[in-house]
C-alpha cells in the first residue's frame, strides 16, 4: 500500500494510474490504444476459439431438432454427461482441498526439497495424458501396488467413476496450486497475527480471515481444474473402464460416434457439453468476480 502511494508521489502527474471510474479515458501506455488491441483480441479469439467451436453448432444445426434430440439426449448420452460433470466437479473439489494444502506448504514452509516438490506440481502439465492414464491404472488397478492393497478390503479405484476422478485430479492439481501460490505469498502475515491477537483460534483465523481473502484465487483454480477435467480424455479412458451408463465419459462417447462416422451425433453431444460447460464456468466466474469485488470496493 505504501509502495503504491510512494510510486504515485514520485511519478510525474501524467503517468498516474487513473482511478477505476476513469479507466476508459485515454492514458499513456506501452500497448497501443483500445481500438487496435480489442480488434486484435477479437480476431485472435475468433480464429482460435469461436470459429472452430461454431462449426460444432453448424454441424448440429444441420441435423434438425428431432435427430439432434435423439443423439444429444439419448439415455447413454445423458448418463455420460452426468458422469462427466459429476466426476470433474468432484475432482475439482478434491483438488481445491489438497491443492490449497500443497500451495500452503510450498509458500509457508521452507524445507529440504521444496524446489523438487515445486517442480513435481507442474509435471501433470507436461506429461502426455496417455502416459498418466497408463501409470495411474498400473498403480490403482486391483492388481497394482496401491489398488492391490485395497482390493481385499473391497475397495476398487480403477474402472469406475472413482478411477475417472483419480485421473482428473492428477491433471487438475497444478491449476489450483499455481492459482493460489501468488495470493498466499501476498497474504500479509500481520493480518493473521491481528486475528490471533483478537482471540481467534487457528481454525477461526483460517475460515474467517484467510479463506475469504484467497477465495477468488481458489475459485479461479477450481474453474480451471474443473474445465480441464471435463475436457480430459487421454488419461481418463485408460482408467475408466468405459462401460456405458457406468464409467463412460462424454468425450469418449463423442469419439465413439466419430469412429462410427456419425459426425452429427458427435457434434450434438459436443454442443450440449459446450453449453453446459460454458454456463457452469460463467457461474463460477460470476461468483469469483463477486468475491473479488467485495475486497476492492
Amino acid at each position: 500500500m505504501e509502495m503504491s502511494s510512494n510510486a504515485l508521489a514520485l511519478a510525474p502527474p501524467r503517468a498516474i494510474a487513473l482511478p477505476r471510474s476513469g479507466r476508459r479515458r485515454a492514458r499513456r501506455s506501452v500497448i497501443p490504444g483500445f481500438g487496435l488491441t480489442m480488434g486484435l483480441t477479437l480476431a485472435w479469439l475468433s480464429l482460435i476459439v469461436l470459429i472452430p467451436l461454431s462449426t460444432v453448432f453448424v454441424r448440429s444445426a444441420g441435423m434438425g431438432w428431432t435427430r439432434f434430440a435423439e443423439a444429444a439426449f439419448a439415455p447413454r448420452a445423458l448418463a455420460a454427461y452426468q458422469i462427466s460433470f459429476a466426476t470433474s466437479l468432484g475432482a475439482a473439489a478434491i483438488n481445491a482441498v489438497f491443492g490449497l494444502l500443497t500451495a500452503w506448504v510450498l509458500v509457508r514452509y521452507d524445507f529440504a526439497g521444496r524446489r523438487i516438490v515445486n517442480a513435481l506440481v507442474d509435471l501433470p502439465f507436461a506429461l502426455p495424458t496417455a502416459v498418466a492414464g497408463i501409470a495411474l491404472t498400473a498403480i490403482y488397478a486391483s492388481n497394482g501396488w496401491i489398488g492391490g492393497l485395497l482390493a481385499p478390503l473391497g475397495i476398487t479405484l480403477a474402472y469406475n467413476p472413482v478411477g475417472i476422478m483419480l485421473a482428473m485430479i492428477f491433471v487438475g492439481l497444478p491449476f489450483i496450486v499455481r492459482s493460489l501460490e501468488p495470493v498466499l505469498e501476498d497474504f500479509n502475515a500481520e493480518v493473521e497475527e491481528a486475528a490471533r491477537s483478537l482471540g481467534a483460534r487457528p481454525v477461526q483465523v483460517f475460515v474467517r480471515v484467510i479463506l475469504p481473502e484467497i477465495l477468488p484465487a481458489l475459485l479461479t483454480g477450481f474453474a480451471l481444474a474443473f474445465a480441464r477435467g471435463l475436457g480430459e480424455y487421454g488419461s481418463v479412458i485408460f482408467i475408466a473402464g468405459n462401460m456405458p451408463f457406468k464409467s463412460e465419459i462424454a468425450p469418449l462417447l463423442i469419439v465413439t460416434h466419430l469412429e462410427q462416422y456419425d459426425y452429427a451425433g458427435a457434434s450434438a453431444i459436443a454442443t450440449v457439453m459446450l453449453l453446459a460447460a460454458f454456463a457452469l464456468l460463467l457461474v463460477i466466474n460470476l461468483i469469483q468476480a463477486w468475491s473479488r469485488r467485495r475486497m476492492e470496493r
Binding site: 500479509n188 500481520e190 497475527e193 490471533r196 483478537l198 475486497m295
Partner: protein, 323 residues
C-alpha cells in the same frame, strides 16, 4: 503492572535482545524508541505474545505469561500497516474480536454490532461502519485498527509504529488524539517508534534502545536534557560533537567574539523561528550546526565565526561516533 526480566532473543546468530529488564506501570504511556535493528519491535512482539524469548520472563500483574499465546494475553495490538480484514465491513472488523469468542462468552449479534458502532463513534468514524477498508484513508484505517483492538477490552494496548505509514499532517493529528484516548480510557499503552519527536511528544516515559539493549529509561525531559550516553544524545534530538567528546544541542551554541571553536560558515537558512547555521569546524574534518535567534544578522557564507557551548554533556569514549 508489566515486568520483563532478562529478556533475551536471537534470530539465528543475530542477537536481537540481550537480557532486558523493564517495568511498565499501570496507566503509563511508554515509548520504545530506537533505530531499526535496535530490537524495539521484537520486544513489543514478545510482550504481546507474537514472539517468544529464548530466555527471561514476562509478567503481567505478577503472573508469568511467558508461554501464553497472544490470544490468551488479552492485549490489543495495532500494526503499522493496519492489518485490517479487507473482505469485512468496518463494523465487522471492529466486532471481530467479540465474534470469535467461545459461544457462552460471545455477546449476541446485535450486541456486537452495537459495541462496534460505539467504538467507531469513539474513534470518530461513526457512520462509516458499512464501508470496506479499501474505501477509507490511511488515517481512518489506523483508527479502525485501534477500535478493533479496543473492542476486546485489553488491559494493555501495544502499537507497532502506529503512525509510520501516514503522512506528516495526519500523523500529528492522530498522535494528539491517541494521547487523549489513552488518558480517557485509562489504558496502559506501549508503542514502538523510531521517530524521537513522536516519542517525546506522546510518552510519559521513553525507553531508548540500541543494538538489543536499553540505553536509557526516563521522561522525555530527562532523555533529552540528560542523555545517559553518547548514543542517546545523538539519537534523541540534534547533537553537535565538539572536540573533547563535548555533545551540544544546536540551540545551546552561541557565537562569541574570539575565544571559541572557529567555524567556517557553509550554509545559512531559516528553520522554524531561528536561523540555522551549518559550517565546518576549522582544523577538524567535522560539520557542526547551530541556531541563532532570528532577530540577529546571520554570518555570511565563508565567514569564520567562533562558537561556544552554553550547555553540554561530555562523553569521553565517543569520538568514534562523531559525524
Amino acid at each position: 503492572m508489566i515486568r520483563l526480566e532478562g529478556i533475551t532473543k536471537a534470530y539465528g546468530d543475530y542477537p536481537a535482545l540481550k537480557g532486558l529488564d523493564l517495568s511498565v506501570r499501570d496507566g503509563e504511556f511508554l515509548a520504545l524508541l530506537g533505530p531499526s535493528g535496535s530490537g524495539k519491535t521484537t520486544l513489543l512482539r514478545i510482550i504481546a505474545g507474537l514472539a517468544f524469548p529464548d530466555a527471561g520472563r514476562v509478567l503481567f500483574n505478577g503472573e508469568d505469561v511467558t508461554d501464553l499465546q497472544v490470544a490468551e494475553r488479552k492485549v490489543g495490538f495495532v500494526f503499522q500497516h493496519y492489518a485490517l480484514f479487507k473482505h469485512m465491513t468496518i463494523a465487522d472488523n471492529v466486532g471481530f474480536g467479540l465474534s470469535v469468542r467461545a459461544r457462552r462468552e460471545r455477546p449476541g449479534r446485535a450486541a456486537i454490532r452495537a459495541r462496534a458502532h460505539e467504538l467507531l463513534d469513539l474513534v470518530q468514524l461513526g457512520g462509516l461502519g458499512e464501508r470496506y477498508p479499501a474505501q477509507l484513508s490511511g488515517g481512518q484505517r489506523q483508527r479502525v485498527a485501534l477500535a478493533r483492538a479496543l473492542a476486546v477490552e485489553p488491559q494493555l494496548l501495544l502499537l507497532d509504529e502506529p503512525f509510520g505509514a501516514l503522512d506528516a499532517k495526519v500523523r500529528k493529528t492522530l498522535r494528539r488524539w491517541l494521547r487523549e484516548l489513552h488518558k480517557q480510557m485509562g489504558l496502559t499503552s506501549i508503542f514502538v517508534t523510531h521517530d524521537q519527536e513522536e516519542a517525546l511528544e506522546l510518552a510519559d516515559r521513553v525507553v531508548v534502545m540500541d543494538q538489543g539493549r536499553i540505553e536509557q529509561i526516563g521522561s522525555a525531559e530527562q532523555v533529552y536534557m540528560e542523555p545517559a550516553s553518547a548514543f542517546v544524545a545523538d539519537f534523541v534530538g540534534e547533537t553537535c560533537v565538539l572536540p573533547g567528546g563535548v555533545h551540544v544541542r544546536p540551540h545551546d551554541i552561541e557565537i562569541v567574539s574570539d575565544v571559541g571553536h572557529p567555524v567556517v560558515v557553509g550554509n545559512v537558512f531559516r528553520k522554524g523561528g531561528m536561523w540555522r547555521v551549518e559550517g565546518a569546524l576549522a582544523g577538524h574534518d567535522r560539520l557542526v550546526e547551530f541556531d541563532l535567534e532570528s532577530r540577529l544578522v546571520p554570518p555570511g557564507l565563508g565567514q569564520t565565526v567562533y562558537i561556544r557551548p552554553r550547555r553540554m554533556k561530555i562523553f569521553e569514549a565517543t569520538e568514534r561516533n562523531a559525524p
